[in-house]
C-alpha cells in the first residue's frame, strides 16, 4: 500500500513514562508490544485494519523486538497461527473484523480452544456492529461461549484498553483459554492518550529461537479421545481459573453509589455512554462519579457468579445494559438469580430494544423506565422531556419534508477501474438480457447501489462463484459471478473456482484485478504489483497490475480453459467479452479478468511523482474530461451509466431549459470512462477530453500558439 504510517510507528516506539496521543486501535497495538508478543497476524478489515497495516510497515521496530508479523491470507489462517501458543510459551495476537472474520476463523478457534493454550493468546476483534457497520449484525459473544474463550469488552478509555490487553495475555496464560477483545467502531477510532511502558522483548522470538520442538503430547491435539477430557477441563479448571484471575485483579469495576437499592450491570464498552446518560438524570457528574451502583464488566465472558451475587445482594432490582441479541449476559444472570434463589428483580431487554446499538438516547429511555419503577424519588421528568422533544423534532422534521432525504452510501472512487466494468455489464445486459448476478464482498459490492443496482446475493467474501452452483443449473441464461482479487485469494479460488472446475460447471466468473484488497484499506496481496515494478515502470501513469500475473498463472495451472483479460476501461471491449462469455458454446468455467489498478493507490503512487516532475520543470500531461453545457441534453444518461462523483449536475445556463446539465468537477482524474461510455453507449456528443501539457516542449508551445492564431480566423464568436 502507498500510505505511510511513519508517524504512527514513532508512537509505537515510546518508552516508560512517555505519553501516547492517538487512536484506540493504535494504543492496542502499542499495548501488544508492551506485553511482549512474539507474533502478530491477522486479516484486515474495518475498524481494526490499522493494527496490521502499521505493524507490516514497522519493519525496523519489529526486527528489534523479534516479532513475527504475518499478513495472513484470511482469518482462518490467522486463527491457525495461534496454534503456536498451544505448546510453546509464546504470546501471540491476531486481529480481524467480526462477525465475518470470526465466522471464517471458527474452525481453527474451536480446535485451538479445545487443547487450550500455554502462551497467552489475544484476538483483537473489530466488533463491526451498529452505525457504520458493513457486515451482518451478530455478536462475537456467542463464539466466546461456545468455544470457551475469554471475552474482554474494555471501557473505551485508552489507559483501560491498554491495561486490559496486558491482563488478557496474563489471564489467557492463567486459564489456558484464548482471549478475545471486542472493540466497537467508535472505540477503535477514539482519540485519547495514555502513559506508556517500555516495549518488551519476548523470551522466545525470531531473534531468540527455540532449539528443540516440544515433546510429543497427544493431549495437545484436538483429536478424540482427548477432546472429551478437554471439554471437562474447560468447565472444571479453565473457567474457574479465569474467574479467579478476574476477581484477584479486579478486572470488572464496581462503583458504589448512594442509591444502593438498585444497581446497573453494564458491558465495559458501553460504560461511558451509561455515565453520560446518568448525568442527564443528575445521577453522575462529569467525572463519572455515580450515585447509582455500577458493575462494569470489562470481561463479559466468563461472568463471575460470586461477584454478581455480591453486587445484587440486598438490591431490589438491577438493570443489565447489554448490546445486541440474544442477551446472553442477562440470561446467565437470570439463571444465577434463580439457582441461588436471590429475590432481586432483573431488568434488561424488557426495558430496552432487543436489537440495535445502545446509544445514549436508547439508554436514557431504558433508565427512565427503570428509575420510574424502582427509584421513584428520582426526577426523570427532565429526561423524559428531552427524549420526547427529540422524538417530536424528528417527527416534525420528517413531516416538513415531502420526501425522505436520499441516502449517501459509499461509492466507487473517482476514476475507479471497477465502475467501467459495471457500465459495460449494463450495456451487455441490454443485448443479451438480464442475468442473475452472484455478488461478493469488496468495493465491487458498491454496484449494488444506484445507479447500477446489480447483484442478487452476497454470501460472503470470495463466495460468489460458489453461491451460483445451485442457481445456474436451473437458469435458462448463464449466471455471472463477480469477485475481487481480495476475495479470490481469501477463499474464492478454492470454494469457487476449484469446485466449478471439478464439477464441470457452466459458469462465468468476473475477477476484478485491481492489485489490492481495496475495500479493506488497499492492503497488498500476492497479486499486488511489486515495488520493483513500481520503481522500474517506464510509464508510471499506466496501470501496473499487468506486471503481476499470479492470478492468471494460478487459473491456468488449475485448469481454466476459457480466460480473457480485458483492460477495465475499455468499455466496448468489455461489453463484447461479457456478451461472448454469456453466449459462447464453451460450456465450462469462463473467467474474465478485468484489469486496472486501484485508482486510490495509483493516485497515491503517481501524485508525488508528478509533483516532483513539475518542480523540476519537466513535461507533465494532465487529462480532464468536460461536458459542453450547450450540447448536454439534461437527460443524465451518462450519470446513470457511470455515477462518477465528479460527473454531477449544475444549473442549466440556458434560460429556456429547465433540467440541470451534467458537469465534470475539478477532481476528475481523466480515467477516460466518460469518453468510453460516450462511444460504447452512443451517448450524446457533449463530452470532450482535454489534455493539458505543463512545461511543454518549445515546438509544442509554438504549434499551439500558431493554431490558436489560425483558429481565430476560422471560429465564429
Amino acid at each position: 500500500m502507498e500510505i505511510s504510517f511513519a508517524k504512527q510507528i514513532q508512537q509505537l516506539k515510546l518508552g516508560e513514562g512517555d505519553v501516547f496521543h492517538g487512536e484506540g486501535i493504535l494504543a492496542i497495538t502499542k499495548a501488544l508490544l508492551q506485553s511482549g508478543v512474539s507474533y502478530i497476524g491477522g486479516y484486515q478489515g474495518a475498524p481494526v485494519s490499522h493494527l496490521l497495516d502499521v505493524m507490516v510497515q514497522a519493519r525496523e521496530l519489529v526486527g528489534e523486538l523479534g516479532v513475527q508479523v504475518e499478513a495472513c491470507s484470511n482469518e482462518a489462517s490467522a486463527a491457525a497461527m495461534l496454534g503456536a501458543s498451544i505448546h510453546y510459551p509464546v504470546r501471540g495476537a491476531v486481529t480481524w473484523k467480526s462477525i465475518v472474520g470470526t465466522n471464517v476463523a471458527a474452525d481453527a478457534l474451536a480446535n485451538l480452544s479445545s487443547p487450550g493454550v500455554t502462551g497467552g493468546v489475544l484476538m483483537v476483534i473489530g466488533e463491526d456492529y451498529g452505525e457504520g457497520a458493513s457486515v451482518v449484525q451478530e455478536r462475537t459473544h456467542a463464539y466466546a461461549m461456545k468455544s470457551c474463550m475469554l471475552l474482554l469488552d474494555p471501557r473505551p478509555e485508552l489507559s483501560v484498553m491498554v491495561d486490559m490487553v496486558e491482563h488478557a495475555f496474563a489471564m489467557s496464560e492463567a486459564s489456558n483459554m484464548p482471549a478475545m477483545m471486542e472493540l466497537r467502531i467508535r472505540a477503535c477510532h477514539v482519540r485519547g492518550s495514555f502513559v506508556c511502558k517500555d516495549n518488551r522483548t519476548a523470551k522466545v522470538s525470531t531473534k531468540s529461537l527455540m532449539a528443540e520442538p516440544a515433546a510429543f503430547d497427544y493431549s495437545r491435539l484436538a483429536h478424540p479421545p482427548v477432546t472429551f477430557a478437554h471439554e471437562k477441563r474447560k468447565l472444571e479448571h479453565r473457567i474457574p481459573a479465569a474467574r479467579q484471575y478476574i476477581l484477584e485483579h479486579q478486572l470488572n469495576e464496581i462503583f458504589s453509589g448512594q442509591h444502593d437499592s438498585v444497581g446497573i450491570i453494564v458491558q465495559g464498552g458501553l460504560s461511558n455512554a451509561l455515565l453520560r446518560s446518568l448525568q442527564q438524570f443528575g445521577l453522575a457528574d462529569a467525572f463519572g462519579e455515580t450515585q447509582v451502583p455500577l458493575l462494569v464488566l470489562n470481561v463479559t465472558y466468563p461472568l463471575v457468579p460470586d461477584q454478581i451475587a455480591d453486587f445484587v445482594h440486598n438490591k431490589k432490582a438491577v438493570l443489565v445494559l447489554e448490546e445486541g441479541a440474544p442477551e446472553y449476559i442477562e440470561q446467565e444472570i437470570a439463571t444465577l438469580l434463580n439457582r441461588r434463589d436471590l429475590p432481586t428483580r432483573l431488568h434488561g431487554k424488557d426495558m430496552l430494544p432487543a436489537a440495535g446499538e445502545l446509544t445514549p438516547e436508547i439508554m436514557m429511555g431504558g433508565l427512565q423506565q427503570f428509575f420510574a419503577r424502582h427509584l421513584p424519588n428520582i426526577d426523570g421528568v427532565g429526561v423524559k422531556l428531552v427524549l420526547d422533544a427529540t422524538v417530536t423534532r424528528r417527527n416534525s422534521m420528517a413531516s416538513s419534508l415531502d420526501q425522505t432525504l436520499p441516502a449517501r452510501p459509499p461509492g466507487f472512487c473517482i476514476g475507479c477501474p471497477e465502475r467501467p466494468v459495471f457500465s459495460a455489464l449494463k450495456l451487455a445486459q441490454k443485448e443479451v438480457g438480464e442475468v442473475h448476478i452472484a455478488a461478493d464482498i469488496g468495493c465491487h459490492s458498491f454496484a449494488t447501489f444506484e445507479p447500477f443496482s446489480m447483484g442478487h446475493s452476497i454470501l460472503g467474501y470470495g463466495m460468489s462463484l460458489a453461491s451460483r452452483a445451485g442457481v445456474s443449473p436451473m437458469m435458462q441464461r448463464r449466471v455471472l459471478s463477480i469477485m475481487g482479487d481480495g476475495g479470490f485469494w481469501h477463499n474464492g479460488l478454492l470454494t469457487g473456482v476449484q469446485s466449478a472446475l471439478f464439477n464441470g460447471d457452466d459458469a462465468v466468473l468476473l475477477i476484478f484485478k485491481n492489485g489490492y484488497t481495496s475495500a479493506t484499506g488497499t492492503q497488498d496481496i500476492i497479486s499486488t504489483p511489486t515495488s520493483a515494478s513500481k520503481t522500474q515502470a517506464h510509464d508510471k501513469l499506466a496501470s501496473l497490475t499487468a506486471n503481476n500475473r499470479t492470478i492468471e498463472d494460478t487459473l491456468k495451472g488449475i485448469g481454466v480453459q476459457w480466460m480473457r483479460t480485458v483492460h477495465s476501461y475499455r468499455v466496448a471491449t468489455m461489453r463484447d467479452v461479457l456478451k461472448e462469455a454469456l453466449t459462447t458454446d464453451f460450456n465450462g468455467l469462463k473467467v474474465i479478468i478485468a484489469e486496472g489498478e486501484c485508482q486510490l493507490e495509483r493516485q497515491r503512487r503517481i501524485r508525488p511523482w508528478l509533483a516532483d516532475l513539475l518542480t523540476r520543470g519537466q513535461r507533465v500531461m494532465r487529462v480532464k474530461y468536460g461536458v459542453d453545457e450547450d450540447v448536454c441534453n439534461g437527460d443524465h444518461a451518462c450519470i446513470r451509466l457511470s455515477a462518477c462523483p465528479t460527473l454531477t449536475l449544475k444549473d442549466n445556463p440556458d434560460p429556456l431549459k429547465v433540467d440541470p446539465v451534467a458537469t465534470v468537477l475539478d477532481g476528475c482524474v481523466g480515467c477516460g470512462l466518460c469518453g468510453e461510455n460516450a462511444h460504447a453507449a452512443t451517448l450524446c456528443p457533449s463530452f470532450y477530453r482535454a489534455e493539458i501539457i505543463q512545461n511543454g516542449h518549445w515546438h509544442e508551445k509554438l504549434l499551439a500558439s500558431l493554431r490558436r492564431l489560425m483558429l481565430r480566423w476560422v471560429q465564429p464568436a
Binding site: 477510532h189 477514539v190 467525572f287 422524538v391 459509499p410 468495493c443 475495500a519 480532464k624 446513470r640 493539458i692
Partner: protein, 532 residues
C-alpha cells in the same frame, strides 16, 4: 466563554461541550479531528474525538464526534472527565456540516436542538446518486434543506465552504476549523489553532488562508442572508425589445424573446417567423379559451419555451456549430483551468450512427440507409456507427466542424427536418384541441413539450412517450377533460422517472390507457447444451 453557560443545574459541575462534525468521506474529517485534539491539548483542556469513518472510498456520509471539557486540566485536581462516544440528544453544542444535505440529515435525526445548538453549515451541495440520475431535475430544494437546519439551531451560520476551500486552494477541513473556532462555542484560541495548522507542514499556508477566510465569514454574520440569497436562481430579465415581437403580450415577452433568438440563430429569420406564427396561433387559441386571461398566458408562455427548444432540435450540425465557436474554446480553457504557458489539446467524442447521418439526407435516400442498418441489426450485428475522437484544437479539426456546421443550409431539405415539423404540428394541434375543451388540458399537453430532448435514444424515447400521451391519454373519450388533464400530468411525470419506462407503463395501466407498443428487438437464444 463563561463557565456559567455550561453549568449543569443538577450536578453543579460543568459538562463537556459536544461537537458533531458531518462530512463526506475524503474531505479530511480525520485531519480536523486530529487538529481539534492537538489544539485542546495545547490549550490545556481534556478532550476526546471519535468517528464513524466511511470505508476508504469517497462520497459516503461520515460523522466525527468531539468532546471537550471546558475547565483546564490544571484546575481539575487530577480528576478525568468521562467523555461520550455518541452524541446525547438535545445536548449538542455545535454541529458543523460540510455539505447541506448532510446538515439536513443531521437536523432530521432530532439530535440538535434550537435551545442549544450552534449549527454551522455549508450551503454547497454534493449531489447524491439518486439526485444525479433523474432524467429531469432530481435535485433537492436547497432552501428547504436550509430551513430544516434553521429549525433546530439556536444560532445558525451558513457559508459556502467548498467555495472558500477552492478559493484558497485548500481542503474543506481547514475551512471547517476556521468556522468552528470562530463560532466561539469552544474555548479555542485562534493563535493556538493557527499554530497547530502550521505544524502540519505541507499545505499549511493554504490551510491557514482557508481557516482565516472562514473565521472572517463567521464573524461577519451578514453572510447568512447573503448566502441564502445566492441559493435563489436568477433568470435573465433583460428588457430589450425586438421589432418582430411587437403585438405579443408582455407576460410572455421574456420567453418569446429567448425563443426567437434561439430559433433564428439555429436556422434563419424565416424559421424564426415560422416560430412566431406558431406561437401566435396558440396565443389566439388561449385567448379564446381564457378570454379574461385568468391564467396569465401561462400556456402560451410554456409553448413558446418548448416550441423553441423543439424547433432547434439537436443534430450533428448543431453540435458541430456549438463545438467550433471561439467562446466555446475560451470556456473549455476556463473549465480545465489552463495556465499561461500550458498547452491544451481537446478531443471531441462523437459516435454518429446511421440515424444521425440519414437525418441529414432527403427522405428517399434516408429510408434506404435506415433499411440497410435495420437489416444489419436483424442479422444480429451491431447497428452501424462511427466512433470518432476529433481533435478540435487543430486547424483541420475545427475546419471539419465548421464544414459540418454549414450543413445547416441543407437542413430544411432533410428527412429529420420534415419529420420534426410534422410532429411539432401534431403536438400543437393536440394542445390547441385540448385548449378548446379545457384550459388545463391544453396546458398539461403544452408541458409535455418537456419530454422532447436530446439525441439518439434519448430523443426517440421522449418522442415515443410524447406521441403515446397525445394519441392515447389525451384522446380518451370516456373521461372528462379534467380527468384527462390530471392523467396527462401523471403520465408526463412518470415518463421522466426512469429510462425503461416502467413507471410510465404502471401509470398507463392504472389509467386504463393502452400500453406502449413493444419494440422489436432481436432476441438471442442461448441453447443450453448440458453435459450428460
Amino acid at each position: 466563554m463563561s463557565l456559567n453557560t455550561v453549568m449543569n443545574s443538577s450536578t453543579a459541575t460543568p459538562r463537556p461541550l459536544s461537537v458533531l462534525i458531518c462530512a463526506l468521506g475524503g474531505e479530511g474529517g480525520g485531519v480536523l479531528s486530529d487538529w481539534l485534539m492537538e489544539i485542546a491539548r495545547k490549550a490545556g483542556y481534556a478532550a476526546q474525538a471519535t468517528s464513524i469513518p466511511g470505508v476508504a472510498q469517497r462520497t459516503g456520509a461520515t460523522t466525527y464526534f468531539f468532546e471537550l471539557y471546558p475547565v483546564p486540566v490544571a484546575q481539575l485536581a487530577g480528576r478525568k472527565p468521562v467523555f461520550s462516544l455518541n452524541p446525547i440528544p438535545g445536548s449538542l453544542d455545535v454541529v458543523i456540516a460540510s455539505e447541506l444535505l448532510e446538515a439536513a440529515r443531521c437536523a432530521s435525526n432530532g439530535l440538535p436542538s434550537s435551545d442549544r445548538t450552534v449549527f454551522i453549515t455549508s450551503t454547497s451541495r454534493t449531489f447524491t446518486t439518486a439526485e444525479r440520475t433523474a432524467m429531469g431535475d432530481g435535485r433537492l430544494d436547497s432552501a428547504a434543506l436550509l430551513a430544516l437546519v434553521q429549525a433546530v439551531s439556536r444560532v445558525h451560520h451558513a457559508l459556502d465552504m467548498q467555495r472558500v476551500a477552492t478559493d484558497n486552494s485548500t481542503a474543506v477541513s481547514a475551512v471547517m476549523l476556521g468556522a468552528l473556532a470562530a463560532s466561539g462555542v469552544l474555548p479555542l484560541d485562534r493563535s493556538i489553532c493557527e499554530e497547530v495548522i502550521r505544524e502540519g507542514g505541507r499545505g499549511a499556508q493554504a490551510s491557514l488562508q482557508g481557516f482565516a477566510a472562514a473565521w472572517q465569514m463567521i464573524t461577519q454574520t451578514k453572510l447568512q442572508a447573503e448566502q441564502a440569497q445566492l441559493l435563489v436562481n436568477l433568470i435573465d430579465d433583460s428588457e430589450k425589445k425586438l421589432p418582430e415581437l411587437a403585438g405579443f403580450p408582455i407576460q410572455i415577452n421574456d420567453m418569446l424573446r429567448l425563443g426567437w433568438l434561439r430559433v433564428t440563430e439555429y436556422q434563419d429569420r424565416a424559421y424564426g417567423k415560422l416560430y412566431l406564427s406558431r406561437v401566435r396561433s396558440l396565443l389566439d387559441a388561449e385567448h379564446r379559451a381564457d378570454a379574461d386571461a385568468l391564467h396569465g398566458m401561462q400556456l402560451t408562455r410554456e409553448v413558446s419555451r418548448w416550441l423553441a427548444l423543439w424547433m432547434s432540435f439537436d443534430d450533428i450540425v448543431r453540435v458541430a456549430d456549438l463545438k467550433s465557436r471561439a467562446a466555446r474554446t475560451e470556456r473549455v480553457r476556463r473549465e480545465v483551468k489552463i495556465k499561461s504557458g500550458d498547452v491544451l489539446a481537446v478531443y471531441e467524442h462523437f459516435k454518429p450512427g446511421v440515424p444521425e447521418i440519414a437525418g441529414l439526407l432527403p427522405k428517399p435516400i434516408a429510408d434506404r440507409l435506415l433499411a440497410w442498418d435495420q437489416q444489419r441489426i436483424a442479422e444480429g450485428r451491431e447497428p452501424w456507427a462511427m466512433p470518432i475522437k476529433l481533435a478540435s484544437h487543430t486547424v483541420v479539426g475545427t475546419l471539419l466542424l465548421r464544414l459540418l456546421a454549414t450543413f445547416k443550409y441543407i437542413r430544411p431539405f432533410s428527412s429529420r427536418y420534415a419529420e420534426e415539423q410534422a410532429l411539432i404540428e401534431e403536438w400543437l394541434k393536440a394542445v390547441t384541441a385540448g385548449l378548446a375543451e379545457d384550459w388545463q388540458l391544453g396546458y398539461e399537453l403544452a408541458l409535455c413539450g418537456r419530454l422532447m430532448k436530446g439525441y439518439g435514444e434519448t430523443n426517440h424515447r421522449g418522442r415515443d412517450n410524447l406521441l403515446h400521451v397525445i394519441r392515447h391519454v389525451a384522446n380518451d373519450e370516456h373521461t372528462t377533460a379534467t380527468a384527462r388533464a390530471a392523467a396527462i400530468r401523471r403520465a408526463r411525470e412518470a415518463a421522466l422517472t426512469d429510462e425503461a419506462g416502467s413507471q410510465l407503463d404502471r401509470v398507463l395501466k392504472e389509467l386504463g390507457a393502452p400500453p406502449r407498443p413493444i419494440k422489436a428487438q432481436p432476441i438471442r437464444w442461448m441453447p443450453r447444451i448440458r453435459n450428460s
